[in-house]
Each structure stands twice: as C-alpha cells, then as structure tokens.
C-alpha cells in the first residue's frame, strides 16, 4: 500500500497556478458566447388598434462594451401577425444618439455599401447592415432609434406602414443581429385605441325690443321729429343673425298718410317725409345707417319702409358670428309740409330676427 505524501505548500502553489491560468483563459472563453442585454427598449407606435397601419419608433440602448463595426447587423424581428410586406428601405430611418445614419435608398438597392447602411425587410425581420468600410459605426452605450413608416423622414418621407395584427394582445419584438447585444420588448395590440368625445350645444337666439311704441309727437314744418328704441340680440348661431322689419302700411290716418322718405334716403325738414334708420354700421342692410337720431340738423338719414309682409321685410341689423347682447338702435323720423293733412297718424312695424345656425 502506497503512502500518500500530502504537502500543503505544494498543493497551495498548484492551486494558485490553476487560479491564475483559469482567470487568464476564462474571460476569452466566456466572451466568445456572452451577448449583452439591451436596455431601455421600447417601441412607440402611432396606432395600437388591430389591423390598422401604424408607425413604429423603436429605441434601445446598447451595452457599454459593444461597438457595432463594419458589416455587422442589427435585426428587428416582428411576430408573423404583423404585416410588414410593404415596407422598404424608404420607410426606415436609423439614428445613433439622435444623429441620422446614412441608409442606402431604394434607387441604390437598399443594401449596404462601403459608406451606407443597408436596410432590408424580409419575412418580418428588418436587417440593418453597417457599411463595409472599416469603422465603428455605433459605439457602446449609444441610444439607437429605428423609425419605420411615415415617420421616417430622412432623405425622403416613408409612404408605407406596418399593419397591426388582427387580434388583440401582447406581441413580442426581438432585437438581435451580429453586433452582439440582444433584447426583447413587447407592444400591446387592442380592439380599439381611440376615444370619440362628443358634446352638443343647443341652438339659441333671443330678440328683445326696448319698447313696443314709438311716438313721434306733433309734427311740424320746422322740425324733424324722432323716436327710437333698441333691439337686443343674443344668439349662438354660428353664422350670426339678421334683423328685419316690415310695415302694415304707410304711417296713416285713414285715407291720409305721410309720404315715405324719398330715394335720397333722408328726411328733410319741412318736407312730408317719414322713414327709419339704424345704428348698425357694419355689414350691408336695406335700411340706411345713422348714428344720430336727434334734431341736430335739417336732414336725418332715413329709408322708406316699403315692405309689407315678411316676404318684403327690410334688413336693418346683422352679424356673421354668435353675439351676446348686441344692441341696435332703430330710429324713426318724420317731418311735414304745410299741405300735410291734420290727423293722428299710425302704423305697425313688425320686427323679425333670424339666426343662421
């Protein structure tokens, strides 16, 4: 029987040597298989609804120790439920730390060249291939952004989008490629991603006359007599309103009447004339504008009231937008000649205000 001659110092020496050898060699063995895990991975889509087309904005951060060099690839693998069949390199942008990378375009064949990235979509896998010219194209810790769809605007705007799956649920998207890092993320697809908000504003309009009578007093040849009242309008009609008036006949006393103001649109002192004006100076109305309505001169702007019945009503105020408490002053004025028969004259003027909603 052989006696085992155990020598502790030799064992420790050998163990130390073994540790040094393993520590020296193992990192190389390990690095040949270890892939870095991407971080901050996200895919911001423009629509999440089933079966609709959507843009994708994919973002991820590379590990610190990974440098993407020439000819290496980044792959983005979508589930087969997405329809990526229409996507080409014109619909793709690639950014490294917010700086656009130069992608080959459709005219150039979409594949990588010595100076341009390739971007090819096949079987739901987007492969981005770095240029063949020797260089580090994306350094470690970089934030990489891939835009797919009409949100790709570098060197032209994309015109196709990926179509979402036809059923709702979580869908995993994988990122990989020969550059070494890998990762997975997910996007939610849902039956409906939109909310329709509605509200109603009921139509409204009010018209209020300040007085239902307008007494011109005793007319004379040496004055122009006046009376006035206001019409106050409130309406939410989107195209505003128009106020009109019409008479039941001339200002009269039986068979006698006061002549309507002549075509010169005023009442002259000492002339048998009667008419009406309004202070709405905006817009174009049938009734003449006047801001006076006082006995300050020998003439007063006034139009004859010629309309009898609603179909012949004459406009005197209007607006084209909703109004709140818009006040229009209506001014009646008259004078007489020496031949105007004595009498108590009267007529009815009807006001109609119409909103345009």
């Amino acid at each position: 029987m052989n006696k085992v001659n155990f020598k502790p110092h030799k064992f420790l020496r050998n163990l130390l040597a073994a540790i040094l050898i393993v520590l020296a060699v193992f990192p190389f063995l390990a690095s040949s298989t270890q892939a870095g895990n991407l971080t901050a991975m996200s895919d911001t889509m423009s629509r999440l609804k089933v079966s609709v087309a959507a843009n994708h904005l994919i973002s991820f951060t590379m590990t610190a120790g990974t440098n993407l060099i020439e000819n290496e690839t980044i792959t983005v693998t979508f589930p087969a439920a997405f329809d990526t069949s229409t996507i080409d390199c014109g619909d793709i942008d690639l950014m490294d730390d917010a700086v656009d990378e130069d992608l080959n375009n459709e005219a150039g064949g979409c594949t990588a060249t010595a100076t341009e990235w390739g971007a090819v979509f096949a079987s739901d896998v987007l492969t981005l291939t770095a240029p063949s010219g020797a260089s580090t194209y994306i350094a470690g810790s970089s934030v990489v952004v891939v835009e797919i769809g009409t949100n790709a605007t570098t060197e032209g705007t994309g015109n196709e989008q990926i179509v979402n799956p036809g059923s709702s649920g979580s869908n995993k998207i994988d990122i990989g490629g020969t550059f070494g890092d890998t990762g997975s993320m997910a996007v939610p697809i849902m039956t409906e991603d939109q909310v329709t908000v509605s509200a109603t504003v009921d139509p409204s309009i009010t018209s209020s006359l300040s007085s239902a009578t307008c007494a011109l007093g005793t007319l004379s040849v040496s004055a122009i007599n006046f009376c006035s009242y206001t019409n106050t309008i409130n309406t939410n009609a989107s195209s505003g309103y128009v106020s009109r008036l019409y008479e039941d006949g001339n200002l009269r006393d039986g068979a006698n009447d006061i002549n309507d103001a002549a075509g010169d649109n005023d009442v002259d002192e000492g002339s048998e004339e009667y008419g009406v004006s309004s202070n709405d100076t905006t817009g174009s109305q049938d009734i003449v504008d006047s801001t006076g309505c006082d006995d300050s001169g020998t003439t007063e702007a006034a139009s004859a009231i010629t309309g009898s019945g609603i179909s012949n009503a004459q406009s005197y105020a209007n607006d084209t937008v909703p109004v709140s408490a818009q006040v229009t002053t209506v001014c009646h004025s008259a004078s007489v000649a020496g031949t105007t028969p004595a009498g108590a004259y009267q007529h009815l003027v009807t006001h109609i205000t119409t909103g345009t909603f």
Partner: protein, 232 residues
C-alpha cells in the same frame, strides 16, 4: 496524487465553478437558426418556438407561481421562465365619451379608465387629439387656466395620475374641474418605471367642458388616440 494531476483537478474544479456562475447569465435565452429556447433551467423546461409550434414545459419545480403584496412581488418555479418574456396589454373601459348638452350654467364631465399591464418594465401612456373638440369651423376652446369654469368656453382632460403632462384631478366628478388642453402632440397621462401588478395599473381619465353664450350651437366631436408604450 501527482502534481500534474492535482493541477488538472484544480483546473477542472475552478472551471466548473466559473462555468456554473457564467451559466446563470447565459442560460437564458439561447437560439439557433431553427429554434429559440426561452429557458433551459432544471432538468428540462422552458418555452420553445419555431415556425410551426410553441411549447412551454417544465421538469420539476418547488412552490411555483406568482405572489405579491404591497411591498414585494415574487415569482417561483420553472414556469416563471414564461414571465421573462416581455408582455404588455392595454385596455380602455370606454371608446365613446358623451359630455351631453353643454350650457353656460354648469361644467359637464365624464370619465373612463385606461388599464396597462406590464411584466418586465415600466410603461408610458400618452394621448393625442385629432383636432379640437369641434363642429367645423367652430370649436370649443382648450382650457388654458388649469380648470374648466362654468360659463367659460373651456374643454380639457385630467388624469388621476400625478406628474404627467395632463394635469391631475383625483376627484373627477366634482369641482374644481382641473383640466389641461389637449394637443396634436403626445401628452402623457400615466407612466410607471417598474412592472405593474398582475392586474395592471388603472388610470382614470376625466373630461370636462363648459360654454359661454358665444359658443356656437352644434354637435361637437373629436377623436383621441391613446398609446401605451412599454420600456423593457
């Protein structure tokens, strides 16, 4: 035992130890041209997929399953491999919001919820409008002073979450009617930096509107698009 034998034995032991530690990081995931193995813990087990099949299996396990409380979340057992597959779901409790007939004497409001569930990361929930609440060419003005007030032409949205682009209102149906104007650029209404509970994180979204006497009559409408994005 000879010295070379001892050296070889030491190398073997150390290599196995290091390989076992490294294996913890490398065991998930692995793949080849034809398959991807989501997990390979224990004797056998994991989620395996190819073009034509999808399979999850386990070979043993002790007290498997999810458990959580206010302060912790735990996942035990081989099938927790499945939970390592990133997942996010998003649901809206309603896709129509009718604010009714607006008047100058009140603030009308209505709400719905949005629920996001993620397992491996946080999320961000944004809203984008397709234009103002409108009956073209008229619209209801966006609220600009932080709250919708009766008698003023104002419309906006509030969220139950704090720290968002859209203002917070945790007492939706009641005054004050805090709200932010909506835009055609994404505005956050909710977010989280960590995975949600298994039942998800629910946000209440509250709409409020009022009008002035000058607000044009009409049937107003707008479409809002909600987008949930997971960050893994």
């Amino acid at each position: 035992m000879s010295n070379p034998a001892r050296l070889a034995l030491s190398l073997l032991i150390l290599t196995c130890l290091l390989a076992s530690f490294q294996g913890l990081a490398l065991a998930f995931p692995s793949s080849s041209t034809n398959f991807k193995l989501e997990g390979e813990f224990g004797i056998f087990g994991g989620a395996k997929t190819s073009t034509n099949y999808r399979l999850t299996d386990t070979g043993g396990g002790f007290a498997p399953g999810f458990s959580d409380s206010t302060n912790y979340r735990a996942c035990s057992g081989f099938q927790c491999v499945g939970s390592l597959v990133p997942s996010i779901t998003f649901t809206l409790s309603a896709t129509t919001i009718n604010l009714g007939t607006l008047t100058t004497g009140a603030v009308n409001n209505a709400s719905h919820t949005a629920t996001v569930t993620t397992n491996l990361g946080g999320y961000s929930l944004t809203v984008v409008e397709d234009g103002n609440l409108r009956d073209s060419p008229d619209d209801v003005n966006d609220v600009s002073d932080g709250a919708v007030t009766a008698g003023a032409e104002e419309y906006g949205l509030a969220t139950s979450e704090s720290g968002q682009a859209i203002t917070q209102d945790t007492d939706c149906p009641n005054s004050p009617y805090s709200a932010s104007g909506l835009t055609t650029s994404p505005q956050t209404v909710a977010n989280a930096t960590d995975p949600t509970s298994s039942s998800g994180e629910t946000t209440t979204l509250c709409y409020a509107a009022s009008i002035s006497g000058l607000t044009a009559a009409g049937a107003y409408q707008q479409i809002l698009t909600y987008i949930a994005t997971g960050t893994f």
